[in-house]
Symmetry: C2
Subunit: 419 residues, 2 copies
């Protein structure tokens, strides 16, 4: 019986050209973050189903690929619910596994611990163009550092990486969940409704300030609150220093330290990089995940909509595993996004070695073949990429094909000459 | 509720020290095989359950982690069997996915296609020391080359890799399934029982020739066949050239071309490498998987029991997917084995960059911190690994810890001096 040739629904085979770019970007990531003292780690792709279903993953928890229990534990006759059949699942992100990893291994890890993870995650999203059910995430996290040196180093490292990849003209948007909350509190919104307010605020770049006001109104929020809220954004538009304006205006509504924290991060980053990229306070930046507790950031690149990296501080999450709070801050880099951009641009991996093809006439004696291979081995030892192949009857066509595969030099070996 | 800290049963978190070695070995593998014209590819970790259960995977098919269908397709009430609940599973090897990949993509791939795969596979083995339920495999395959240039290049590339890893004194054991069959046929065993004979023969290195004879007898094989079989091995012991001896003795029982094929491989490899490693015809080499059709090989390393790489020719497998036969030959490298050996030996990754720690006194002004970070950024740009950390009160202890993490140089920055 012929088997199924296609990958499973929503997943893809990675072709040689893309693979080359992926390997190159992974190499850049590892090299760059190692330079900043980050350590690569790896966790299993499979996680305990209880850890994956702990309400930290938001909507992603609905998209888990669940794995059947093995052996005696699986009893189909008596199974009442899915939970009777399943004890693990494929991870949907790298944050849950990192939290578990840290709580499992903290005793043997440096403090603070600077972790780099690159690996596949799975989400049973509705398959659509450019979105796959298996994709790589790349997360960089600092665990155990309550100070904003974590934020500063993460911004420096990640912008360094994006520069190495070749992106120019990027902007780091920065905000703080505490500023978001302070503005909402000052406006008189009910704390239970903050998240609903922020979801609407998040649409600012699409629907504008008036659109946000309208949607808040149509969602039944008090006119007075909306007016105060809008007033803040108008004030921000006119203010020279947005953070200072909010610190003054919000007063006690703003959690102590939040404004100073943002100011310090911006000062230190700017002093370091001499403004080689834009670092912008963005009071409309929300970031979806509710686990963020402080600074949040996103990096946008000129010419590409949306963000290419994002993250923030999540001081409460690791504590869910350990019962002991651990400050944490991280960036997630849009690895698949970067690969797609490079692939679409026809990017050539720099420093690729010259590819040479040795074409050997068929029927050559095996000892004599050894002398050709000896030459190939010497070239390889010297760093050349050498393909040894039998010469086809249609040599011209063969060379054309090899040229398309990147072979730029050919060497031909004939039976008679080799004797 | 506190969550589960441990990885799921039988899987493991990979610690920084091991991760460093894994990354290093993966780098060596990619560099070496690319030098021989191999192309890295990747397939999804999840495969269609029909492909995984097609009797090609032998015992591994009993060890599949099965994944629950999603959405409406999962109907717990009407489900009668496991098959009603499952439509995919985690791959247990890289050979099934490669066959599927090739049949799915052959039109766009070079011929012959030289593929390199490194990635995790899953088997629900009984957990035991050193054996995990998620582990990496590393496969190198040449598809579409019916000639023994495939075997020759695979042996050259794989021995080159093992040399780069640092192994010395290794032996390539080589045999051919057709020689195994020829010897069994000559001895008069029933073709239906060949596999049973080979499983017993495979124990030769543990129980010796007499042990094999005894076990064949106790399994009810005809005395006359056993005697003829033993006669062949005794003849081989006395023969100067084992392959020539068998070619002559087996006569028509040996499939045409098998002896000549082995001879050519050995001649070409020896002519190329000038016998820098042992290449040994081993008529007792069996290799478990029934999909092998021709040459089979294994590489053993002095001082380490068992083999560190193995493979062979499997000309019929890809055809199961395409319906169109595709000659194929490959090596599987014991990646986890190599990593464990290096880790146990206390191997230090060569060319590791010097690690420098900048210790900054707390309370420094954020603009001034920028000047420290500027210096760090310059060092990183010049290829140094620099950790920037706050200076602890117990600086001596902090330095001891950092030294244990591999930091060999320290630079201290004090508030007063920085002003």
């Amino acid at each position: 019986m012929a088997l199924v040739k296609k990958p499973v629904t929503g997943m893809k085979d990675i072709q040689p050209a893309e693979m080359q770019i992926r390997d190159y970007v992974i190499g850049l990531i590892k090299e760059t973050y190692k330079g900043f003292g980050f350590t690569p780690i790896e966790t299993p792709c499979v996680e305990n189903i209880a850890n994956l279903s702990n309400k930290q993953g938001g909507e992603n928890e609905k998209l888990i690929f669940k794995i059947l229990k093995r052996g005696e534990k699986l009893n189909l006759e008596t199974a009442q619910t899915e939970a009777d059949l399943v004890d693990s699942g494929l991870r949907y992100d790298l944050t849950v596994p990192l939290s578990r990893y840290y709580s499992n291994n903290a005793a043997n890890l440096p403090k603070p611990f600077k972790a780099l993870q690159i690996g596949p995650v799975w989400r049973a999203d509705r398959p659509q163009k450019g979105r796959f059910r298996q994709f790589y995430q790349c997360d960089i996290d600092i665990l155990g550092d309550p100070t904003n040196l974590a934020e500063i180093e993460l911004i420096l490292a990640t912008t360094t990486l994006l520069g190495k990849v070749g992106f120019k003209g990027f902007t780091v948007h920065i905000n703080d969940r505490r500023i978001l909350k302070g503005m909402a509190k000052y406006s008189g919104f009910d704390e239970a409704q903050y998240d609903e307010v922020f979801i609407i605020l998040d649409k600012m770049d699409k629907i504008g300030l008036d659109g946000v006001a309208k949607e808040l109104a149509s969602n039944g929020f008090a006119e007075e609150s909306i007016e105060r809220y809008m007033g803040l954004f108008k004030g921000l538009n006119e203010a020279e220093d947005g953070v200072a304006y909010l610190a003054e205006t919000l007063g006690d509504c703003l959690e102590g330290g939040a404004a100073e924290n943002l100011k310090q991060i911006c000062e230190a980053v700017t002093a370091t990089t001499q403004a080689s990229f834009k670092l912008q306070f963005d009071p409309t930046l929300v970031r979806g995940m509710s686990y963020y507790t402080g600074t949040i950031f996103e990096i946008g690149v000129e010419g590409f909509p949306g963000s290419i990296a994002g993250g923030g501080r999540y001081d409460k999450m690791v504590g869910k595993f350990t019962g002991m709070e651990t400050p944490a801050c991280g960036f997630s880099i849009g690895f698949e996004r970067i690969v797609t951009i490079l692939l679409d641009e026809g990017f050539t991996v720099p420093g690729s070695k010259e590819k040479i093809a040795y074409l050997v006439e068929k029927g050559v004696d095996s000892k004599v073949l050894g002398t050709v291979l000896q030459e190939a081995m010497a070239g390889r030892a010297a760093g050349q990429q050498i393909l040894v192949a039998w010469m086809n009857k249609n040599k011209k066509f063969q060379k054309e094909q090899l040229t398309a595969e990147g072979y730029s030099e050919f060497k031909e070996f004939y039976k008679e000459a080799l004797k």
